[in-house]
């Protein structure tokens, strides 16, 4: 599917970020389009989380621009009016959970902070708790929940205000198969009502089922894209990674990534850009 820049709700242009000498993200162009699920895949340390943090203003880029479309025009994320963030929901790494609050209190709190009134927040929290099958734990403090259920609470907090832009970092990594199905349904529903969804995952098969676009990140760069709905994505994915690393098999890759990581990262040029649509 070809992205239409005019419809991009959240967009990165040539974004780069270094941590010390190490380039975490190097010259990435990415856009999130209304009604699309855009998947990010990559090995650990590929830059997926850093890219999502850049998109959400959690870290400031060293180079490039991140813009959020608000009132019809793209605005630099650093200068977006606070109210515009009402349209965004996210779950990046740690879920919005406070040990002393119950599940219901947590989701209501997230709804309030996302700009909903107390009355609306209460009703919306009840709805999303049911949608994510959290009713059984609704009155339990989040400290007593399993990791998977805490992740589901975090997802409920990201979805409760029906955002137009959804950014989720590995939302299914702690979930059981039933939880994965629930998340899949919610993401498809969100895209169906016009939301732009960015989701990272290690589950290539899962991404193949739901994504409209799959972008492959490696060492902070976009190294290609995978065909959504395609088969044998794992082989295609590793071919891209092998090519990027100049190796031919998994065993050599493991050695290369541990031995050459520091040198390669240190010599990377963050100004190099890779366009993906």
């Amino acid at each position: 599917m070809t992205a239409t820049p005019a419809l991009a709700l959240l967009r990165a242009d040539g974004v780069a970020k270094r941590f010390g000498d190490e380039p975490a993200v190097a010259g990435i162009n990415l856009d999130l389009v209304a009604g699309e699920i855009h998947a990010l895949v990559g090995l650990n340390g590929a830059g997926k989380t850093t890219l999502m943090r850049l998109l959400l203003g959690m870290v400031r880029p060293d180079a490039g621009h991140v813009t959020l479309r608000t009132d019809g025009a793209p605005v630099e994320v650093a200068h977006v009016p606070a109210t515009a963030w009402r349209a965004v929901g996210h779950l990046v790494e740690t879920p919005f959970t406070y040990a002393e609050l119950t599940v219901t209190e947590t989701v209501r709190s997230a709804a309030r902070l996302h700009g909903m009134t107390a009355d609306d927040a209460g009703a919306a929290a009840e709805q999303v708790i049911d949608e994510l099958a959290l009713r059984h734990w609704a009155s339990r403090r989040t400290r007593t929940l399993s990791l998977g259920n805490r992740q589901r609470v975090g997802l409920a907090c990201a979805l409760v205000h029906h955002p137009d832009v959804l950014v989720l970092d590995e939302p299914t990594n702690a979930l059981d198969p039933a939880g994965v199905l629930l998340v899949r349904r919610r993401l498809l529903d969100a895209a169906a009502r016009g939301a732009a969804v960015l989701v990272s995952s290690h589950h290539l098969d899962e991404m193949a089922r739901i994504a409209d676009r799959i972008t492959v990140l490696h060492r902070g760069r976009v190294i290609g894209s995978l065909p959504p709905g395609g088969t044998d994505l794992e082989r295609l994915f590793f071919e891209m990674v092998y090519t990027a690393e100049g190796v031919t098999d998994e065993e050599t890759l493991a050695g290369v990534t541990s031995d050459r990581a520091t040198r390669d990262l240190a010599t990377s040029n963050p100004a190099t850009e890779t366009e993906v649509h």
């Binding site: 870290v59 740690t94 997230a110 902070l113 107390a118």
Partner: protein
């Protein structure tokens, strides 16, 4: 800022740290005051009375309220300081700071709401502790509160409020150093520095020394030298601490 106040208020009401700290002040300060006064009265010439005598500034309501004021000057700083450090530092320790980005509720509002809620909670604890002291005073035979009782209660309350305000800058330490332990370390350091400064004679011009000195911890003679201006230095300390914290929260990144 209404949403941030509602959420931070809920978090503080449900927090074990706040409950334990509140109970420690509300129960321990009046109980210690009433207990020590009762012990001194029942053991007039005994060894216990001899040990307690230097801490009491008089008898009856004056003695009780003066002693509770001394306890509150350090107890409130400790209790509120720990809870302030926890409230701000836990967002980093628990990893929830990132969840407070990309929201229509700005992080500066969240930080300001935390400060407002914490100061409000500190004032509630202070009022409750002083009120309970009045009740315990009556229960232990001091009779209905007289002018000395109300005057002492007012002074104890002012001391407690000043200590609450002096705890506010710990929010900055817990934020900048991203954890509640750095905030608590700053609290311990502040208390140590206060002791040293008080001994060296700079005394009441150091904002953290003034309430304790005024409470009579260094004796009634020293307490009489403390001026209102010296006591009110706690206000700019709190304002600067709050402003620096809000400014930092507005600009901080996730690391």
């Amino acid at each position: 800022m209404g949403a941030a106040l509602a959420v931070e208020g809920l978090k503080l009401r449900k927090a074990t740290a706040a409950r334990v700290a509140a109970i420690a002040i509300v129960v321990v300060a009046p109980a210690m005051g009433a207990g020590f006064l009762a012990a001194a009265r029942s053991d007039i010439d005994g060894p216990l009375a001899a040990k307690i005598a230097p801490m009491l500034q008089g008898t009856g309501w004056t003695g009780l309220m003066g002693f509770v004021g001394q306890i509150l000057s350090i107890g409130m700083l400790l209790a509120v300081g720990v809870v302030v450090s926890w409230s701000f530092g836990r967002e980093f320790t628990d990893g929830t700071f990132g969840s407070l980005f990309a929201l229509p509720t700005p992080r500066r509002d969240v930080a300001m709401a935390k400060i407002v809620v914490l100061v409000h909670w500190g004032l509630d604890v202070a009022v409750t502790a002083v009120a309970l002291t009045l009740v315990l005073g009556m229960a232990t035979g001091l009779g209905l509160p007289d002018a000395a009782a109300w005057s002492g209660a007012g002074k104890a309350l002012v001391i407690a409020v000043l200590s609450v305000l002096l705890a506010v800058p710990l929010a900055w330490f817990a934020s900048v150093f991203r954890g509640y332990l750095p905030g608590i370390a700053a609290l311990i350091g502040t208390i140590m520095v206060t002791q040293v400064i008080t001994i060296t004679g700079v005394g009441a011009w150091f904002p953290y020394s003034a309430p304790g000195m005024w409470s009579g911890m260094g004796g009634l003679e020293l307490a009489a030298t403390v001026t209102p201006v010296q006591l009110l230095l706690a206000v700019p300390v709190a304002v600067v601490g709050a402003a620096a914290t809000v400014w930092w929260w507005d600009r901080a990144e996730v690391v």
